[in-house]
C-alpha cells in the first residue's frame, strides 16, 4: 500500500536520516583505513541509521534504508560497489543493501571516501502512522587511503658487464599524505638476490674490491672471491644504510656482498642510484619492501603492474639472459643451453661447445672482456711461443710471433673459424685453466677456456695450445688431440727451427718463401688437425672403407687428391705441393708451389666442408 506524505517536504525542518559506514577486516578484526590500489575494499559495513520526524504525536522514529552508495567521484573515476564474499571476488549487485565491497578504479590512488545513500521509510515505527518523507541523503563518509608502492624495472637496454655500474632503481609510495593528513613516508628497503656465477666471466677470476690483500708496488692486490654476489649495491648510497657480509681473513676484517639497503629515514621515495655488476652473465632479482599497517608489502612494478621482483637484467623469458641481447642476436626467446652456431658451416655440425648463455656471458680475450655471437662458431688458440727470441738473426721478437697464428695468410681464413675476421680468438696464457688428459705419451695438459662455468654449461671448451719445441719428434709439428674434449687435448708442438730450416732450404734453391707465412702454414696445418680430428681418427676412413677415404687415403686428414688439394694447408709435406722423391730417381715427384697457400681446400668435400668444433 502506498503511503501518502503527511505534508509537503518544504514545510518541515525535521532532521534528515543519518548513518554511515566503515570498513572492517574480518581477518584482523579491525577497521581498514589503508588499502592497496587495485584491492577490493572489503568488508563495508553500514552503521545503524536513524531518522526522526516530528509528528502530531511527537518525535517518531522511522526505518532507514540504503538506496545507493557513493564514492564522491564523477564519471570514469567512479569505482563500483558490489558484493564480495571473501574480499577477492566481486559481484555487482542491484540491491544497495547487499553491498559490502567497493572496487576502486584500477588507477585510483589517494584518499577514498565512501558513503551510503540513505532514505527513510516514512511510517513511524511506534505509531504506524505516516511520517515525513525525507529526501535521500548521503551518509557520513568513511575515509581511508588507497595507496600504492611502486618500483621501476630494469631498463630494457641494459645488460650485465664485469666490473661495471648498473642501472638505478626507484621505489616510491603514493599518495604522499594519507586521509588523516599524515605523511605516508616509511622505511623503504631494497634487497638483491643475485647470481653467484664463478669469476667475473668464463675465464677470469673475480677480484673482490673490498678485500685488499696487500699493496705491491703501489698496486692494491685483491683477494679472489669467485663466488661473491654478481650484483651488489655500492657500499655507500646517499640517504641509505647499506649492509654486506662481514668476513675476516689474514689481512683483517672486511665487508663484501652488499645486497641489502634501507633508507635512513621514513620517506615516500627512495632511489638506488646504481648497482654494481661484477659478472658478464650476472642475473638476479631486486625486491623493494616497506611496512604498511597490514604488514610488510612488496613493491609493484611500474611496467607489468604486478607485485613481483624486478629481474636484473630485463628478462621476460626467464632464462637469465638479457632480453635485449637475445633480440639483438635474433634468438629471442633463446634456450640458454642452446649451441646452434652455424657460421662458417664446416661439415654442418652446429655449435662450438659454448652455450648461448656462455657466449653471452663472455670471456677475457687478451684482457678484453668479449661477448660472442651465438651464430658464429668460435675457436680459441693460445700461443706459448710468444716468448722473446734470443736469436739475433731471427726477424721476429718472439719465438712464435702471434701474427703467425692470427694473420689472414694463416688459419683464420675462408671456410673456417676466423672467416671475415670473426670467430677465431687468440688468448693469453692465463686465460684458460690447465686440465690434464690421458694420451699415449702420458698425461697431457690442455687449456679450458670456460673453466669458470656455472649456469647453462654444456661442456668444457678447449683452446688449441701452440707450444714451440726443440725436439725433432715431431719432425716439423704435431697435434695431440681434437679441439673438443674427447680422448685428448688440442696441444700442438711446433718445431720452429725445422720450419726455418725448411724455408732456408727452399729459398736456397730459388724459392722466395716468407718465414712468417711458412710458420703460419705449419700452424694452420696443425690447427686444421684439431678440427678435422673426426676425419683423421675415423677407423673407417683409416681403413679406406668410406668415400672420404678415397680423398684422404686414410692418411690422417691430409687431402691429397688433385692439384687443388695440394694448395691446401693440409698438404702432408712442407711446403705444400712438394712430393718427395718416392721412386728414388733423384728428382722431386712434385715441386712445391712458388707461393705458399693461404686457405684450406674448398672442393667438395674438402677441408672447408669437413671440419667441426663439436664432437
Amino acid at each position: 500500500m502506498a503511503i501518502a506524505p503527511l505534508k509537503a517536504k518544504a514545510q518541515t525542518n525535521d532532521p534528515p536520516p543519518s548513518g554511515s559506514c566503515y570498513v572492517f577486516s574480518p581477518s584482523s578484526s579491525s577497521v581498514v583505513e589503508y588499502s592497496r590500489r587495485g584491492m577490493i575494499v572489503w568488508e563495508i559495513t553500514p552503521t545503524s541509521a536513524t531518522d526522526y520526524d516530528f509528528t502530531p504525536w511527537g518525535l517518531e522514529e522511522n526505518f532507514v534504508v540504503i538506496v545507493g552508495w557513493t564514492d564522491f567521484m564523477e564519471g570514469e573515476d567512479r569505482g563500483e560497489f558490489g558484493y564480495s564474499p571473501d574480499g577477492y571476488s566481486f559481484y555487482p549487485v542491484n540491491n544497495p543493501e547487499w553491498v559490502n565491497a567497493y572496487r576502486p578504479k584500477p588507477g585510483f590512488v589517494g584518499v577514498l571516501r565512501i558513503a551510503p545513500i540513505l532514505d527513510d521509510i516514512p511510517i513511524g515505527i511506534y505509531s504506524g502512522m505516516p511520517t515525513y518523507d525525507d529526501d535521500p541523503v548521503i551518509g557520513e563518509p568513511w575515509k581511508m587511503t588507497i595507496w600504492e608502492f611502486w618500483i621501476t624495472p630494469c631498463p630494457y637496454n641494459w645488460r650485465p658487464m664485469p666490473n661495471a655500474t648498473g642501472p638505478s632503481f626507484t621505489a616510491w609510495i603514493e599518495p604522499e599524505v594519507d586521509h588523516l593528513g599524515q605523511s605516508m613516508g616509511r622505511f623503504i628497503a631494497f634487497e638483491l638476490f643475485p647470481s653467484t656465477e664463478p669469476g667475473e666471466c668464463l675465464n677470469s677470476h673475480f677480484l673482490c674490491p673490498y678485500d685488499v690483500d696487500g699493496v705491491f708496488d703501489g698496486i692494491e692486490l685483491h683477494g679472489i672471491h669467485d663466488n661473491d654476489a654478481d650484483l651488489q649495491f655500492p657500499p655507500y648510497l646517499e640517504g641509505m644504510y647499506v649492509y654486506g657480509q662481514w668476513e675476516e681473513d689474514e689481512e683483517g676484517p672486511y665487508v663484501h656482498n652488499f645486497t641489502f639497503a634501507v633508507t635512513q629515514q621514513p620517506t615516500t621515495i627512495a632511489t638506488v642510484g646504481t648497482i654494481f655488476c661484477f659478472d658478464g652473465g650476472a642475473y638476479g632479482v631486486l625486491l623493494a619492501y616497506t611496512n604498511m599497517p597490514e604488514g610488510i608489502v612488496f613493491a609493484r612494478r611500474t611496467d607489468t603492474g604486478l607485485i613481483e621482483p624486478v629481474e636484473i637484467p630485463y628478462d621476460k623469458n626467464g632464462n637469465f639472459i638479457a632480453d635485449v641481447w637475445e633480440w639483438n642476436m635474433g634468438i629471442y626467446p633463446a634456450d640458454a643451453l642452446g649451441d646452434f652456431d652455424n657460421y662458417p658451416v664446416g661439415d654442418g655440425t652446429p655449435g662450438d661447445g659454448l652455450s648461448v648463455y656462455e657466449e653471452y656471458r663472455g670471456l677475457m680475450v687478451r684482457y678484453l672482456w668479449t661477448v660472442f655471437n651465438p651464430w658464429i662458431k668460435d675457436m680459441f688458440v693460445m700461443n706459448f711461443g710468444a716468448v722473446p727470441s734470443n736469436d739475433p738473426n731471427w726477424p721476429f721478437d718472439f719465438v712464435i710471433p702471434n701474427e703467425a697464428i692470427t694473420s689472414d695468410m694463416g688459419f683464420p681464413g675462408m671456410g673456417v673459424p676466423g672467416e671475415n675476421g670473426r670467430g677465431f680468438w687468440l688468448l693469453n696464457a692465463n686465460e684458460g685453466a690447465t686440465h690434464w688428459m690421458r694420451h699415449t705419451e702420458g698425461w697431457i695438459p690442455g687449456k679450458i677456456v670456460n673453466f669458470l662455468c656455472g649456469y647453462a654449461h654444456l661442456r668444457d671448451v678447449y683452446a688449441a695450445v701452440i707450444v714451440p719445441s726443440q725436439d725433432n719428434q715431431p719432425e716439423l709439428a704435431w697435434t695431440f688431440g681434437p679441439i673438443w674434449n674427447v680422448s685428448s687435448v688440442p696441444v700442438i708442438e711446433i718445431r720452429v727451427p725445422a720450419v726455418r730450416e725448411g724455408v732456408n732450404y727452399w729459398n736456397g734453391v730459388g724459392y722466395q718463401y716468407d718465414l712468417l707465412h711458412a710458420l703460419a702454414c705449419v700452424i694452420a696445418h696443425e690447427l686444421g688437425h684439431t678440427i678435422l680430428w673426426h676425419i683423421d681418427h675415423n677407423q673407417q676412413v683409416q681403413d679406406g672403407e668410406d668415400e672420404i677415404s678415397i680423398l684422404t687415403n686414410g692418411d690422417g686428414g691430409h687431402h691429397v687428391y688433385g692439384q687443388h688439394r695440394m694448395r691446401c694447408f693440409m698438404w702432408p709435406y712442407f711446403p705444400p705441393g712438394v712430393v718427395p722423391d718416392l721412386d728414388n730417381d733423384g728428382a722431386w715427384d712434385s715441386l712445391p708451389f712458388p707461393n705458399l697457400p693461404k686457405d684450406f681446400c674448398d672442393s667438395e668435400p674438402g677441408c672447408q666442408s669437413l671440419w667441426r668444433l663439436n664432437p
Binding site: F384, N390, E475, F480, E526, G554, D581, D589
Partner: protein, 278 residues
C-alpha cells in the same frame, strides 16, 4: 720426372702408409733410445749442428743398425746448470708441456731430442742428398734414396785437404759434444767485431753482440733471460756466462765468419784455409 695425377695419387697412397712429413695428428711415436743409443745420438746431434754431417750419419746408422729408428731425448747440460728445480723425465711429454703452459719454465724449448731418421735426413740434406727430403720418418726409404743417388754418381762436396788446415790459438771446452769457445777471444781470432754489455753492479757480462753493433739490435746473449727465453732457439747449444767469460758454440761463430769446414784434432780447433779467418 712428371707424373700424371693418377700415378701421383697411387704413389702418394703408398707413401702415406709409410711416412708423412708434417705430422699426422697424434704423430708417430718412436721407441725410446737406451743409454748407449742416447749418447750416440747426442753426439750425432751435436755433429750435425756443427757441420760434421758424415760423423752424424755414421753415428745414426750405427744406432739404426743396433736399435732401429729410436728417439733420444735429454736435458742439455746448460739446462741442468741453470734450472734450479727438479727436471722431469725428458720423455715425460705431459710434465714438459705442462711446465711450459703453466709458465714455470719453457721446457719444451729446453729439452733436446732427435730421432735416427730425423738426424739422417738433415745430415744427408746437409751433404746435398735432396732425395731424402721428407723421408726422416721412414729410414729404409731414406737410405734407398741415398743409395740411388750414389749409384747415379752423386758425391757430396769434398773437404779441402786436411794437411792444409791450420790450428786456431783458441782454448775451448766441450759440453754435450758441442765445442764452446770464449766469445771475445774467438771473435778476435776470427776477426769478428764483438761487444759485451756488463751489469753495472755485478760487473758481469749479460749481453753480447757479434758483428757490427747496431743500436737496439737484440743481443746474442742475455744471461738472465736464458731460461725464460728457452735458451737454444737459434743455437743448438746456447751461449752462457761463467766467471765473467761468455762461452758460445764455435760452430755459430765460425758460420758468422764464413767458415764452412772445421774440426777438433789433437786438442785444437783446426779450420780449413780460405775460409775467412784473418
Amino acid at each position: 720426372m712428371k707424373l700424371t695425377q693418377r700415378t701421383l695419387a697411387i704413389l702418394l697412397f703408398v707413401a702415406f702408409l709409410d711416412f708423412a712429413k708434417a705430422s699426422p695428428p697424434g704423430g708417430r711415436i718412436y721407441p725410446r733410445a737406451n743409454e748407449e743409443a742416447t749418447e750416440k745420438l747426442k753426439e750425432g746431434y751435436a755433429a750435425y749442428h756443427q757441420g760434421w754431417y758424415e760423423l752424424a750419419i755414421e753415428l745414426a746408422v750405427e744406432v739404426y743398425q743396433k736399435y732401429g729408428d729410436v728417439h733420444a731425448r735429454w736435458w742439455p747440460s746448460w739446462v741442468k746448470r741453470f734450472y734450479r728445480g727438479n727436471l722431469p723425465d725428458p720423455y715425460d711429454y705431459g710434465a714438459i708441456v705442462g711446465a711450459t703452459i703453466e709458465g714455470r719454465a719453457p721446457m719444451t724449448m729446453m729439452v733436446a731430442g732427435v730421432t735416427v731418421g730425423g738426424l739422417l735426413e738433415y745430415s744427408y740434406l746437409g751433404l746435398g742428398y735432396h732425395g731424402v727430403y721428407g723421408k726422416g720418418t721412414h729410414v729404409p726409404s731414406l737410405l734407398k734414396s741415398v743409395e740411388a743417388a750414389k749409384k747415379r754418381g752423386y758425391r757430396p762436396p769434398q773437404l779441402p785437404l786436411k794437411s792444409t788446415w791450420r790450428p786456431l790459438p783458441l782454448k775451448f771446452r766441450e759440453e754435450d759434444f758441442f765445442i764452446l769457445v770464449p766469445i771475445e777471444e774467438a771473435c778476435k781470432v776470427l776477426g769478428l767485431p764483438c761487444r759485451l754489455q756488463f751489469d753495472q753492479k755485478t760487473r758481469k757480462p749479460f749481453g753480447a753482440y757479434v758483428g757490427e753493433y747496431v743500436e737496439k739490435k737484440r743481443p746474442l746473449l742475455v744471461i738472465q733471460e736464458i731460461l725464460r727465453r728457452g735458451g737454444a732457439n737459434m743455437m743448438a747449444y746456447p751461449a752462457y756466462e761463467e766467471g765473467g767469460i761468455v762461452w758460445v758454440p764455435f760452430y755459430w761463430l765460425a758460420k758468422q765468419a764464413g767458415i764452412r769446414w772445421w774440426e777438433v784434432r789433437d786438442g785444437k780447433i783446426y779450420v780449413a784455409p780460405k775460409q775467412g779467418t784473418k
